[in-house]
């Protein structure tokens, strides 16, 4: 087994979140909190309460995911005909009309990616909690992917926002954002925060503890 380099945690060091200065962790904290001697930012060994936070946010996002898909995303009125489209009905509409590329983009950005994020985050959380870490590098890759792809889920919200702003032709054509837009935005935001609140170092902590 390859010897593991000692980590900051083992050496009793802590890195500042903001200025990344390495300082020694005080032995006892009492009721106070450790602060960076250079920039004054609060110091944490690991992100505080990371797993619980991530869990809470992931669950909230999953709850928001349901109305985001069931309720109409856009309410289009064209010459008196009002039609409300959900995300999936929009995808189906584009597919039926031959624009399967657009359908694919919408499906990936609005349906598939958020769902994938749930799966990845839950998998990461479970791995850390139950110490199932076999390939910590892969888990970290998954985490990076989640962080990187998160903002692209807002694509759908951007499209709706632009359409609502552009198509204001009164009686002839009018597009309004449906209630699903709000829930979808909440899904995206909560999953982003959830990914942010997850501390990937916990993965390595698990690996180190196993080797002790």
């Amino acid at each position: 087994m390859k010897p593991i380099r000692s980590s900051a945690l083992q050496l009793g060091l802590v890195s500042c979140h903001d200025c990344h200065l390495l300082s020694r962790r005080p032995k006892t904290l009492g009721h106070g909190a450790a602060h960076c001697p250079r920039c004054g930012g609060e110091l944490h060994q690991r992100k505080s309460n990371s797993i619980a936070r991530t869990w809470a946010l992931v669950l909230a996002a999953m709850v928001f995911y349901i109305p985001a898909n069931v309720l109409p995303m856009t309410i289009t009125s064209a010459v008196g005909t009002v039609s409300a489209d959900t995300i999936m009905s929009g995808v189906i509409y584009f597919m039926q009309h031959g624009s399967w590329e657009i359908a694919l983009v919408i499906f990936t950005a609005s349906v598939f990616v958020p769902f994938l994020k749930f799966i990845i985050l839950i998998y990461l959380l479970l791995s850390v909690q139950f110490k199932w870490v076999k390939q910590p590098k892969n888990l970290t890759r998954l985490y990076r992917f989640t962080e990187a792809v998160g903002r692209w889920s807002m694509l759908d919200i951007y499209v709706v926002t632009i359409l609502v702003a552009l198509v204001k032709l009164g009686f002839l054509a009018n597009i309004e954002a449906g209630p699903a837009a709000l829930y979808f935005a909440l899904v995206v935001v909560t999953t982003m925060i959830a990914a942010e609140s997850f501390d990937p170092r916990l993965i390595w902590d698990v690996v180190e503890k196993k080797h002790e």
């Binding site: 619980a52 809470a56 669950l59 909230a60 109305p67 909560t190």
Partner: protein, 558 residues
């Protein structure tokens, strides 16, 4: 130091206190709780707002679209089509729709659904808005009737929707004619309503037309109002010329109805909803009296009834009191004779109307007819009828039109008529008849014509031809004779004439004004005139004084 160290060692030997991290409730869990609350609230809202789902059957789904087509009442959305499918045998379309929650009490079997599309028909253009927005389903809600969730959509929109102020009435007609749903109803030329529906009435063997009169004109429909069919053009031609009458151009195309009171009728009570009226075929018909009580009689005529057809009037002194119902031919096997029973109907109410006008005699009949309904008074009826018959009340066939030979039945008194009795045959009272004098004349003229027909015009013609030929021959001979006369006789005639002239001259000299005979004659005539004059004066004198004949002139005595 060693003491201190040893103390330290002792202290280090003491077990280390356990550090337990306080597992406090993290504020972050509020986020999923809020999410759950929102989710729960959304679910509850969706569940509570989910209205009843109904199905409507239409013949075609033309213009309907699942998820888009609305159900509207007074242009307010009350539901939405969720699904469109064919029914099992593919004969019609089943439209599923989700209604709003507050529409529940209106989902009864009286509620009507129909598709509103753009329609352009005579007199009406509607639903043009649907050309752009697409069709929608109209609804006419009704709280009456039984609750149901399965409806059959109307193919045509109903003409009157709920909540429209006004009143429905029912018109009874023999036939529908040119009327249709939407046919207008006029009151003095104003369109006040329309035909809503029509149906065949099996009990009455006629057509019931349901009409709707809009407020406030429904108050003009009184119980004794008369409705008539005002369809098309009413053309009358009389001595004053041709008269065209129509309610409106629309009624020419679509048909129409009109109603009014008859001029002399006092206004009655306002008619209730669904009051039944008779629909007269024309305005003139609506002005006639109607009689509900009808009495049937049988009459036997011992003469030809040619020209007497069902519908021919029965009159008393020129006033119609009934009409002929049927004319039949019966063969009497015992007598080997034909009989013609003529069934007539008398409308006693007409006679009633005549009571005041025509006096006691008719009143008798009228009362009889009325009393006939009441067996209690049958004795009086018989007595009265007997009296009338004794008085000579008879029926007689008369010619109404000499050109067409149309007959009518006239009831009148014939005191010289042979006595007759009232009988009953097959339940009908037999009304005694007498034969028409005209009929007899006609018979005689007939006989004359028959005799004339017997004259052998053929033979006469032939003989005439022979005679003419002979005449021609005679004339030829005459011509020959006259030729002879010319040649031989004329010189002699001339000589005779000369002699004649001379003779005349002799006579003239004897009788001429200067002749002696003439002079004497004049003289005599003068004297004769004088003599006559004196005789005249003598006679005048004698007339004054006749005693002068005996006593002589008075002047002489003196």
């Amino acid at each position: 130091m060693s003491e201190e160290n040893s103390e330290m060692k002792h202290a280090e030997q003491a077990p280390e206190a356990l550090v337990q991290t306080k597992r406090s409730f993290s504020i972050i869990w509020v986020v999923p709780i809020i999410a759950l609350l929102i989710g729960g609230w959304l679910t509850f809202k969706a569940m509570s707002e989910k209205g009843p789902v109904i199905t409507i059957t239409f013949e075609t789904a033309e213009g309907l679209e699942a998820g888009k087509t609305m159900i509207k009442f007074k242009d307010v959305e009350v539901g939405k089509v969720t699904d469109i499918a064919l029914n099992d045998d593919r004969s019609s379309v089943v439209v599923s729709a989700e209604m709003s929650t507050d529409s529940k009490p209106y989902l009864t079997d009286k509620t009507q659904f129909w598709v509103v599309r753009a329609t352009v028909a005579a007199g009406k253009v509607s639903g043009l808005g649907t050309l752009l927005s697409g069709a929608y389903i109209g609804v006419n809600p009704s709280t009456e009737g039984e609750k149901t969730e399965h409806f059959t959509g109307l193919e045509k929109p109903p003409l009157v929707t709920a909540g429209m102020p006004g009143r429905h009435f029912i018109l009874q007609s023999k036939e529908l004619g040119s009327l249709d749903r939407g046919s207008p109803v006029y009151y003095r030329g104003i369109k006040v309503g329309q035909a809503v529906d029509y149906d065949f009435n099996h009990d009455r063997d006629g057509v019931d037309i349901k009409i709707f009169i809009e407020a406030p004109f429904h108050e003009k429909v009184l119980e004794n109002s008369r409705f008539w069919n005002a369809s098309g053009i009413d053309m009358t031609m009389d001595a004053t010329g041709i008269k065209l009458d129509t309610q409106s151009l629309v009624s020419i195309m679509l048909g129409g109805m009109a109603f009014d009171l008859r001029q002399h009728d006092p206004p009655g009570k306002q008619a209730e909803k669904d009051h039944h009226f008779r629909l007269y075929p024309d305005q003139a018909g609506s002005k006639e009296e109607t009689y509900d009580v009808k009495r049937y009689f049988v009459m036997y005529f011992d003469q030809s009834v040619r020209g007497l057809s069902p519908g021919a009037p029965v009159e008393i002194k020129g006033i119609p009191v009934g009409e002929v119902v049927s004319v039949k031919l019966q063969f009497d096997q015992n007598k080997l004779d034909f009989q013609i029973p003529v069934l007539i109907v008398l409308e006693p109410e007409r006679l009633d109307a005549l009571v005041t006008e025509s006096g006691e005699a008719v009143e008798g009949v009228a009362k009889n007819e009325e009393l006939e309904r009441d067996t209690h008074h049958s004795y009086t009826l018989e007595v009265r009828s007997k009296k009338l018959i004794e008085k000579g009340f008879r029926a007689q066939l008369k010619t109404g039109n000499l050109l067409t030979g149309q007959l009518y039945i006239d009831l009148d008194f014939y005191p010289d008529a042979p006595p007759a009795k009232l009988e009953k045959v097959d339940g009908y009272t037999v009304f005694p008849t007498i034969s028409a004098p005209l009929e007899q004349i006609v018979q005689r003229v007939d006989n004359i014509i028959k005799k004339v027909e017997q004259v052998p015009f053929d033979r006469i013609g032939q003989e005439l031809q022979v005679a003419v030929t002979e005449l021609a021959e005679t004339l030829q001979e005459l011509k020959g004779i006259s030729g002879k006369v010319n040649d031989e006789s004329i010189p002699k005639v001339n000589a005779s004439l000369d002699q004649f002239q001379e003779t005349m001259k002799g006579i003239e000299s004897t009788l001429g004004p200067d002749s002696a005979l003439s002079y004497n004659t004049r003289q005599v005539m003068g004297e004769l005139a004088l003599a006559i004059r004196s005789v005249k004066s003598l006679l005048e004198y004698l007339e004054r004084d006749p005693q002068a004949l005996i006593l002589g002139k008075e002047g002489d005595k003196k």
